[in-house]
């Protein structure tokens, strides 16, 4: 909402200066977005000083001047004036400026081979005088401190731009703003000054509001004004509109706009000669169409509120008029409409048709239903004054009567919500100022809500009115109490934060990417998940919710590879989406590493990253979050974007249906399709919500400390076993031989090749044996040895390597 202080003062007398008014507006909830003059063409012209002046190399009568215009660097200007001398203070016009005298727009130009940036102006060129000999000479004393400043003072009035919240329909007119300011004690609201108009004759154009379901029009008031002479608006009216950046059109249109901006009362003027017989306000039928004043043809759905005549649609009520009945400069007779349209109906229609107009903006927020007559009166008075004509008696058709809203306000509510107390007398004064009718009763106020405040429905709205007018600075700051109702984080949230930092501590950069992605990349990682489309995506390459974090990670990996990074480690923890309903999502931590391990390091051998690098990061992380390493089970069933032979799925327990993590090398197809140029790419995913975390806290776990001081023994075994036999199973068989005595098993060699059957491999393991209650004898150890060998041989068909 834009207006000027001058306009505000049409309604309001105040002793406050502009700045105070601006502050007050913000303090009562009418946020001032800006308070500044309109940009003016003359803002281009700057006070400048000639720093040096030399003869033009190719022209005797021209000079090349270096000019200080108050910026970091001086500009070079070619000038023909004899008085362009060093130290002269003058007026400079930069490229882009329009010279007042001849309306010539300056551009950077070459004058006899020397580039000139702008121009030094004579008084004649600036229309200051007729002096065209030489450039303007400004007094050194007066202007030496103004180098770089505007030469012309900007006299256009400053415009206040308010950001009006959707609840404050009443402040979409200057009068409403003045009323609020007055209620807040910033001045006195002037009495309304209605013109006295002489009406004669009946309004004999019949207006009818159809009584039907969904009827969007509650009341339709009109005057018929005959014999007007439409013309250009007078200066005061044009200036008023121009002062807030609106373009004047013709007196009749300008008057309706002015009344809307001033009183928040939208009006519409029809050329009544173009109306066929009568006006009927009714619901539209599907498929009806008309051409609107924005020169677009609209095809309507059913039940939109339309103003029609015998020939069809004239306009969309409260939204936009039609070209067929538009007023023109030649218009002689007009029908002036002042109506009330229901906000819901307006909003529905304008949304379906995507129309936004000033009238629609006001009607959908709810204008004052009691302003119909006032609007007619003020506008008709102005029309008659400016364009002449005779005004008929008014005609007001009512379909639905407006009911005043009443609220019983318990005075104690104010303190209960705001924490501060206001004397009853002051409460009464504030509400009265805002237009409430106040009747004091015991502990309560009986209130009648002003018709222009559709937003005020209940007690709490009254609290807000009083609080905002009193000022929020009256609210006392109460120190927060440290009372805790439940722990800050639950187990799952703790796990989230732990995982995040655990992975980061392994050299990964955490990143945050959109929850949506490009369906083309997403397809590479979606598997058989449903594609979740966004109906109105921000762009076609962010058109689906991500089915995998890799959809985005891979994209940004590529960007970083293109920046010439080679060894990249990144991860993200966040949601992936399985469906389009709330809850169809899962938190995943996905990480990737590209390139080489120890690139260009003098002491370490370069090697490509491989599946076991990724396995290390995942397993270590899982250990750190407290999973039992013995129970973890791994198989090779992984999604299709993993390398089929070099990836694994991790299960928290061998009986679990769903894995808690995947790790491995990426499928070579992905590298190809995503066009990734890297030495190697390993990835992993951890599915946070699938991890079962016990109820035990660390204090429970730590207290179970047991250790053994008895002698430890180690034995090495090498088994020759089927090539495809998984070592995980071999370890389990050994460990099952005696879970108490066998403390750990390490694989220290896997060998295939010479001396070993082609279908076999040799696996060498180191087994640590320790009892928790005695020293083991040689016999004990030998027995265990034999058991291990026989168990492995019997269960796997392996042979101890001799």
């Amino acid at each position: 909402m834009k207006f000027t202080i001058d306009w505000l003062k049409d309604h309001f007398d105040s002793k406050l200066n502009d700045e105070k008014i601006i502050d007050k507006l913000t303090n009562i909830g009418l946020e001032v977005e800006s308070f500044q003059s309109q940009q003016s063409e003359l803002d281009h012209f700057l006070v400048a000083k000639i720093v040096s002046s030399e003869k033009h190399p190719n022209a005797d009568r021209l000079k090349v001047c270096e000019v200080d215009i108050g910026r970091n660097e001086n500009v070079k200007v070619v000038c023909g004036a004899p008085n362009a001398k060093k130290n002269l203070i003058t007026v400079y016009a930069p490229p882009g400026a329009v010279i007042p005298k001849n309306q010539m727009k300056l551009s950077v130009s070459k004058i006899r081979g020397v580039t000139s940036y702008g121009m030094l102006c004579s008084e004649a060129e600036l229309k200051l005088s007729n002096e065209s000999e030489g450039i303007t000479e400004l007094s050194t004393n007066k202007y030496k401190s103004k180098i770089g400043k505007n030469y012309f003072l900007n006299n256009t009035p400053k415009i206040i731009d308010l950001s009006i919240t959707p609840n404050r329909a009443d402040c979409l007119g200057v009068r409403g703003i003045a009323r609020d300011l007055a209620a807040a004690g910033s001045g006195k609201l002037r009495k309304k000054n209605f013109p006295k108009i002489k009406s004669s004759g009946q309004q004999n154009l019949k207006v009818k509001i159809m009584n039907e379901k969904y009827q969007g029009c509650a009341a339709f008031g009109s005057y018929l004004i005959k014999g007007v002479k439409n013309k250009e608006s007078p200066k005061w009216l044009k200036d008023k509109l121009l002062s807030i950046g609106q373009k004047p059109i013709s007196a009749i249109v300008d008057i309706t706009n002015y009344v809307m901006l001033d009183l928040n009362r939208p009006l519409h003027a029809y050329d009544s000669d173009k109306i066929d017989t009568e006006i009927v306000v009714r619901n539209s039928k599907k498929g009806e169409s008309f051409e609107a004043l924005d020169n677009k043809k609209y095809v309507l759905e059913e039940n939109m509120c339309v103003i029609t005549d015998k020939s069809g649609i004239l306009g969309l009520g409260g939204i936009i008029g039609g070209t067929r009945s538009a007023t023109e400069l030649g218009t002689k007779n007009i029908l002036l409409e002042s109506a009330y349209f229901h906000p819901k109906s307006i909003r529905k229609t304008s949304r379906l048709l995507s129309i936004d107009t000033d009238a629609k903006h006001r009607f959908e927020r709810g204008i004052d239903p009691n302003s119909i007559e006032e609007g007619l009166l003020v506008a008709a008075g102005l029309i008659q004054k400016l364009c002449g004509g005779t005004i008929s008696k008014k005609d007001i058709q009512i379909n639905k009567r407006f009911k005043q809203r009443k609220i019983i306000f318990p005075i104690a509510k104010l303190q209960s919500i705001t924490g501060f107390k206001v004397p009853e007398k002051e409460i009464g004064k504030i509400l009265d100022g805002l237009g409430f009718k106040v009747t004091k009763k015991k502990n309560v106020l009986d209130l009648i809500v002003p018709s222009w405040r559709p937003d005020i429905e209940q007690e709490i709205d009254i609290v807000e009115e009083i609080a905002r007018i009193i000022g929020y600075d009256k609210i006392e700051t109460k120190l927060p109490e440290k009372v805790r109702i439940k722990p800050t984080l639950n187990k799952q949230q703790k796990l989230f934060h732990f995982l995040q930092r655990s992975v980061a501590s392994k050299g990964y950069f955490e990143t945050v990417t959109w929850s949506f992605t490009d369906s083309k990349i997403n397809d590479l990682f979606k598997e058989d998940k449903k594609e979740i489309e966004i109906v109105n995506p921000i762009s076609s390459d962010l058109n689906v919710l991500r089915s995998s974090i890799f959809s985005n990670l891979i994209f940004y990996l590529k960007k970083n590879l293109e920046r010439d990074f080679k060894d990249i480690s990144m991860f993200e923890i966040g949601p992936i989406f399985i469906g389009n309903k709330p809850g169809d999502q899962e938190i995943v931590l996905a990480g990737l590493k590209s390139g080489l391990a120890s690139r260009l390091n003098w002491i370490e051998k370069e090697r490509k990253l491989d599946v076991f690098d990724s396995k290390r990061d995942v397993i270590q992380t899982l250990h750190e979050i407290g999973l039992d390493p013995v129970k973890i089970n791994i198989n090779s069933k992984t999604p299709n974007y993993y390398h089929p032979g070099k990836s694994g799925a991790i299960y928290q327990n061998s009986i679990d249906k769903l894995p808690i993590a995947y790790f491995g090398e990426i499928h070579p197809n992905i590298l190809l399709k995503a066009d990734l140029k890297t030495d190697a790419l390993i990835v992993f995913e951890i599915f946070l919500e699938r991890i079962k975390i016990g109820e035990d806290k660390l204090k429970d776990l730590k207290s179970k400390f047991q250790y053994s001081d008895f002698q430890k023994s180690e034995r090495d075994f090498a088994f020759v076993i089927d090539k495809n036999f998984e070592v995980q199973e071999l370890i389990k068989i050994i460990s099952d031989v005696d879970e108490d005595l066998i403390k750990s098993i390490r694989v220290f060699d896997v060998y295939e090749g010479d001396n070993i059957d082609k279908e076999k491999k040799s696996v060498a393991l180191n087994v640590t044996i320790q009892s928790s209650n005695k020293s083991l004898t040689d016999d004990d150890l030998n027995n265990l040895n034999k058991l291990i060998i026989s168990n492995v041989e019997n269960k796997t068909g392996a042979k101890l390597r001799s």
Binding site: G29, T165, T418, A467, Y472, V512, P537, D584, S598, N601
Partner: protein
Amino acid sequence: MSDIIKIKEEYLNKLKEISDLKEINQLKSELFGKSGKISNEFKKIGSINPEERKTISSQLNDAKNELHNLIEKKINDLEINEINLKLKNERVDVTLPERTFNRGKIHPVSQVIDEISSIFSEIGFSVEEGPDVENEYNNFTALNTPENHPARDMHDTFYLDKNKKFLLRTHTSPVQVRTMLNGKPPFKIIAPGRTYRSDSDQTHAPMFHQVEGLHVDKNINMGHLKGCLNYFIREFFEVDKIKMRFRPSHFPFTEPSAEVDIGYELKDGKIIIGEGNKWLEILGCGMVHPNVLKNVKVNPSKYQGYAFGIGIDRLAMLKYGINDLRAFFESDYRWLSHFGFDPLDVPSSYRGLSR
């Protein structure tokens, strides 16, 4: 001369000649081994008559100690010599680079969420979360923003179905709805998370982060709201003094509603939070609207409280001097490295929010 003296003299002489660790160990075992000369003498003691036994055994002990000490000393000296000799050849250039290590980083958004959680944890708030995909009811209707309410225009919503029933939440406020529907008052929660609006330029990203706050109990009023936010802002920006301004505003789900500005000044093009005479809008808040309480089955004549919503990314930008919001989500390795935080920098009250 007794055997003992003889042995002693003989070996003392031998020891003088020897400077090789192996030979000394050889000597040692000749004397003290299982059938070494001194060991044998000890074995004989039992058969010596009692009169002489005392003298001889003391003689033997003396000899044993003297030889033993000498041998140990000699061994020790030789070992040290040997190490010293070895050390002369064991010099490396320690200025050569170490073995590879990789530093990870935590994203500023995550770090700031942790900072926020830590601050609110101190005053008894717990963390709640909700889904990114919401239904239209939780995101709007329950929050007193019925269909056809102009306030819906303030949010450019991403929809997931043609009927506009399912959407990406435009704010974290639906977590309020979920929390209150699923529990009983009092409520004292914050809800950080991703939020979405179809808006994209230098200061708007289609995805951003908010933290919602909600405190509902029997006597919570705007004074508590002011106190809570004042505490939060001061702690978050780690400044002693903070200038704050509560300005009336409008949100459908709170009433009275306020926007909060904080004071700042510009120094060398950088925003300094705290004092100064410029105002920066940083959050919206208010008292939970009775209609919202009714919608979530909380009795508004018994309970009341406040709610607030803060842009997390914006807080991060202000605190850590980040200019471009979009850069948060572009995963530029250089940016992540510069603005990221060490994973060991876990914000907490005892170590301070940040280093």
